[in-house]
Amino acid sequence: MAKKSTIRSSELSDDDLFCLTQNGDTEAFNALFRRYERKVYLYCMRVLLDEDLAHDAFQEAFMRLYEHRRSYDGRNFMVWFFTIVRNVCLNMRRNKKVTVPFETSIANEAPAKITDVVLNEHIVVALNQLPIDHREALVLYEYDGYSYQEIADITGVSIATVKIRIFRARKLLRTLLYPVVYDNGV
């Protein structure tokens, strides 16, 4: 019963894909999911800095995408969806829900090198010391690759504020991270 879009999904915008998704086109949803799964995951992982919470937030964000489908006004899907993702992460961070560990997440990954694990821990510790709004802006810019304007739309602040937050976050991160990563020869 699944509808199939006759147009190649790569040619369609996010807005078009979501409209097709709302009409039951599973191919359109799959294309949209592939576009966003990595960005959402990176955001959840590096804003929440907790793997279990991030996995929950990842699921919850896509569930909310479905639940909030009626409130989508047909414009700028990216900003609308990332606003949902952001709210989910901020709520989870506030509530710090106790969750069942996602046992398969690490088991299925290729074994990481010791240096990668240590480096990952250093990054997590350093990011954890940034103010949440600075961290959020930095993650959206450096990890997800969004522009200042897009970050301003998602977070609801001005472009100037976004620029300042990212610059300060970089500076603080350099101060925190550089001595432990490079001076210790990780």
Partner: protein, 473 residues
């Protein structure tokens, strides 16, 4: 500070040629700046490497993709079926409700009774001092203020003239004679409407004539005892007005009489139900509670209405509005749908803004082994936020408590989306002294009976506090 700004622009790729030259010269001359740039670039590279290493687990991503994708697909199918089911019932019901409201309004207007006449009276003093009450020609009711105004003015003018005639010892002369001649010429059978039309001219003549008569020797002589019978006061008393209207006979009588007439007119009008409006428009806001929900659930309602006064105390009208409320519902579903059962049921038009808050009883975390995805049955309690729009025809009964306060009751029947609606409301109404605006506040309850819902309970109810404002003419 300059270097920081340039460094920021460098990372943004927004440097001009001049800024780039300046940046290079700073780097060449200051070793600390070179170190800062190198470290910043290395940290940035570190973050990008970190981003490349982070990937969502395959089974998690697949599970979410299939679950949410199938929910969208299922939702589209349900939506299609819902639309097909609703179409043949919803439209005729709405049309029927509208026609019923219009028919009730038309019938009520056609059958509205003739409004009672205003019994304006004047006091004629007999020669022996006995008072004879003379009823003025039947004129319009309080709902016709212009005609009533003319009747009052006419009666008062006659009373004053008769007083003057008596005072003149049955031999009117000068101004009084002229004034009596004018009254005789106008005649008692003059219709109220023509009186109203010519009232301003008559008043002008009276203003000219009265002082002439009052300043004559006979008027100010011994016969002036008759003038102690204040015609304005007697008139006011006979009309039931409570305000003290003192009319003294002096040189400014005409001006005072005019002012008093205006007061008498105001008093006559105020005897009706306040506010005395034929057509009323109003808006109501409500807040309350959905009756069948165990836990407190908010209800918000707004409505707009216009009504027509059948009599002074009864009104009928039509009301339309919208209600937003929450409804609890228990459902059973698989974990693949993740508590995403379709929102809306029967009478619901759709979800409002940000959708519902759900309390999912099962663990929100997916715990299936990689590979096959086994749906897990879960029992869920959903709280659906819904909105209905409705139209209704109502009957409104007023009981006057005081000059400004009324106690009102309203009974309304109508239809909402695929549902029948009944509404009862009791409220107090306060009318401002200017009579332009009335504030209302009261309590009420509604019940909805769904015609299409397949749920076990087809009806739902709510109650709350309502407050509003109305005006009219």
């Amino acid at each position: 500070m300059e270097f920081e700004q340039l460094l920021r622009k460098y990372f943004d790729g927004a440097m001009t040629e001049a800024e780039l030259e300046r940046f290079q010269s700073l780097l060449e001359n200051v070793p600390e700046y070179r170190t800062e740039l190198r470290q910043s670039l290395e940290i940035r590279s570190l973050l990008h490497d970190d981003a490349l290493n982070l990937k969502p687990p395959t089974d998690l991503a697949e599970h979410v993709r299939i679950a949410v994708g199938s929910s969208f697909e299922a939702d589209a199918i349900v939506d299609q079926a819902e639309q097909t089911r609703r179409r043949p019932i919803g439209a005729p019901l709405r049309i029927s409700a509208g026609m019923l409201a219009a028919a009730c309004l038309l019938v009520s207007v056609a059958l509205s009774p003739t409004l009672p006449p205003l019994a304006s009276t004047a006091v004629r003093s007999g020669a022996a001092g006995a008072s004879v009450v003379e009823t003025a020609p039947a004129v319009a009711s309080s709902s016709r203020p212009a005609i009533a105004k003319a009747a009052v003015r006419d009666a008062m003018r006659r009373a004053v003239a008769r007083q003057m005639a008596l005072q003149a010892d049955t031999e009117p002369t000068g101004g009084a004679a002229e004034y009596m001649a004018l009254l005789a010429h106008e005649g008692p059978s003059r219709s109220p409407r023509s009186s109203a039309a010519g009232s301003s001219g008559s008043t002008n003549i009276a203003r000219l004539a009265l002082p002439d008569m009052l300043t004559s020797p006979r008027a100010s002589g011994s016969g002036s005892s008759i003038l102690t019978r204040d015609p304005a006061e007697l008139l006011n008393r006979s009309m039931g007005t409570t305000t003290a209207y003192k009319l003294t006979y002096d040189s400014t009588l005409a001006l005072r009489a005019d002012a008093d007439i205006a007061q008498v007119e105001t008093g006559a009008q105020s005897r009706g139900i306040s506010p005395d409006r034929t057509l009323t428009i109003g808006v109501t806001l409500g807040a309350g509670q959905v009756a069948e929900n165990a836990s407190p659930t908010a209800l918000l309602q707004n409505s707009y209405y216009f009504s027509f006064s059948v009599t002074g105390n009864d009104r009928i009208g039509v009301e339309m509005g919208a209600s937003a409320f929450q409804q609890e519902r228990a459902t059973t579903g698989g974990s693949t749908s993740g508590g995403m059962a379709k929102g809306g049921q029967g009478m619901a038009k759709g979800t409002l803004g940000m959708p519902t808050e759900q309390s999912v009883k099962s663990s929100p975390t997916i715990s299936t082994p990689s590979g096959t995805i086994a749906p897990v049955r879960t029992e869920e309690q959903q709280r659906l936020e819904q909105q209905i729009t409705y139209g209704a025809v109502f009957y409104d009964r007023r009981i006057k408590l005081s000059k400004s306060w009324d106690l009102c009751g309203r009974l309304a029947v109508g239809a909402a989306d695929d549902a029948l609606l009944g509404n009862v409301r009791a409220y107090a109404a306060y009318t401002f002294p200017s009579k332009g605006v009335t504030l209302t506040m009261g309590i009420g309850g509604s019940t909805l009976y769904s015609l299409t819902s397949k749920a076990t309970a087809n009806s739902s109810g709510n109650y709350g506090i309502y407050y509003g404002v109305e005006t009219g003419f």
